[in-house]
Amino acid sequence: MTDTFIVVVGIIFLFWIGYSVIELFSVFPKASLLEKLGFSYGLGAGFVILQLFLYSLFHITWNIVSVLVPWFVLCFIYWLRSKHKLRKSKLNFPRKFIDKIFLFLLIGNSVYIILESLSRPLLAWDGWATFFLVAKAFFYSGNLDTSVIAYAHTSNPPGLNLLLAYFYILLRHFNDSTVLLIWPAFYISILILLYSSLRQIASQRLSLGLTLLFSLTPNLVRHGGRFDTGNADIILGYFFFFSFLLLKDFIIYRKTKTLILLNFVLGIGALIKSEGVPSLIIINSIAILYIFYKKDFSKLIVFLIGFCIVGIWQVIKVMNNLPSNPFVVNSFMWNRIPIIFSEFGKEFLNIRRWNLLWIGFVLSMFILRLKKEYLFTAAIVLLQLAVYFGVYLKTNLNPVAHIESSFDRLLLHLAPIAFYAVSVWAISFLENKKK
């Protein structure tokens, strides 16, 4: 119970770190309190990951004092400067009965996910094979121990391992059960972000209803708190969605602060899992194209942030002779195209894992509602899917076996963005019906 309490406090502290940074630097002045909360957890987690990463580079000891004190100072500064603002911020609770039912069910789902994550030990193979093994080693050695990465023979970057190590530092011992609470927190944060982004284009009832629909996606539930808790995919899905919303915000308001945050989030995503690297390239490419279109070249230097975070890790990998991604070594095997299309189709039709999410996404592309926002969102999903398609064209494994064992997790990275695209389509369709 003590460990559970400490982990919960640790999670709340991550929210607080992220929220303090958002408010101190006025990053989202127009965002609602709920939207800021949705961003806060990922930001807090990202800062802690970067903190332990930099501590390792500069040989600073990992202990409770060195890890927590800088954030206590930051949070204290924010609290001193913004006491009056906290009282003004409020959440808009639904007033109508059906909206209250939706909210009640959403909260019920979240509680269900939290309880599920506490009911089982770590069962995810990738958790055993990579994330928790390396995190255990990092905690025992008190730094980013590259020898265990070589021992585990993993090409995954250290982001999630560092986040887990943070919690072990708080607990002062290794506990792989209670730290699984990190995953429901990401599940809830995705729902908060989805709701608040839909709320900008739809009514409270529709936003709550759509968020509830998404919250019941079986693969999301599975990774958020059930048997696949411990894999990094839902966490990467959160950071993808976060960076997508930041990109949207940047295109509308063109603020440098947003671009800085976007690159930070993309960099953290690339430290969570290798699939974050193509996402960084895709989203930054869109942002760079936009900057050239607007001729706002002074902002180009900001892109160094994301590329530096990724670059430093790549240098460490090369210097320590760590394993590289084994699935992109071969050349493209073009004769696999029909097989891959077929396997992709099977997964899109897999209602047991996705309900009707991916069927809805494909449907929305053919029933024409050419709103710019829909096209933009769908394009990002399709570009990342194209990257995954390319990986399967190159993989040294049997492509059918590889797709069957991994594609559902890759789709989870894109599920929040894809659902947002389907929601935009559904909302504009329903609005047009009323006319």
Binding site: Y112, E116, W128, L216, P218, L356, R369
Partner: protein
């Protein structure tokens, strides 16, 4: 640009699609809650080690035992399945474990490494006569590990 195809058929398809999605999701919601209240809630009554035994099976006591041993710091693992390797490698860390899948691999590893112990997980999977002969000539039975009264694993020590 907002092009709307004004077709009643398309509107019916989309309405039906949204209705189906809601129906499937509601069914999921009920199944989750039913599953939790009928099965998963019982897990909270179990201790941590009982839960691990339930979900990990005989892997848990095997690697617990090796983890507590003061003599074994590294060992080979003879196992048909990667699951034991990944779990064992994780559970036993900082003790190290090296998976060998065949006699040839074991022979090569023994020549080049100073690892003195071997864990054979589910010995009934390894009845190959050549393997048995090799083990007899290079290793000695160190400990048998039983799970629910049947032999789960055997630890061998190098001669």
């Amino acid at each position: 640009m907002d092009i709307l195809i004004k077709s009643n058929k398309i509107k019916i398809i989309v309405d039906l699609f949204i209705f189906l999605w809601i129906l499937v999701s509601l069914a999921r919601l009920l199944s989750y809650y039913y599953q939790f209240l009928s099965n998963d809630i019982k897990l909270f009554a179990l201790s941590d080690s009982s839960k691990r035994q339930q979900f990990y099976g005989d892997m848990y006591p095997v690697f617990q035992l090796i983890g507590k041993s003061s003599r074994i710091n590294t060992l080979y693992l003879l196992s048909k399945d990667g699951k034991q390797y990944f779990y064992g490698r994780y559970a036993m860390y900082p003790k190290k474990i090296y998976w060998v899948e065949s006699l040839k691999e074991l022979q090569e590893s023994v020549k080049t490494n100073q690892i003195n112990y071997l864990l054979m997980y589910h010995p009934t999977d390894f009845k190959n006569k050549q393997l048995q002969a090799y083990l007899k000539s290079h290793f000695v039975n160190y400990q048998n590990i039983y799970y629910h009264n049947s032999l789960s694993s055997v630890i061998y020590k190098k001669l």
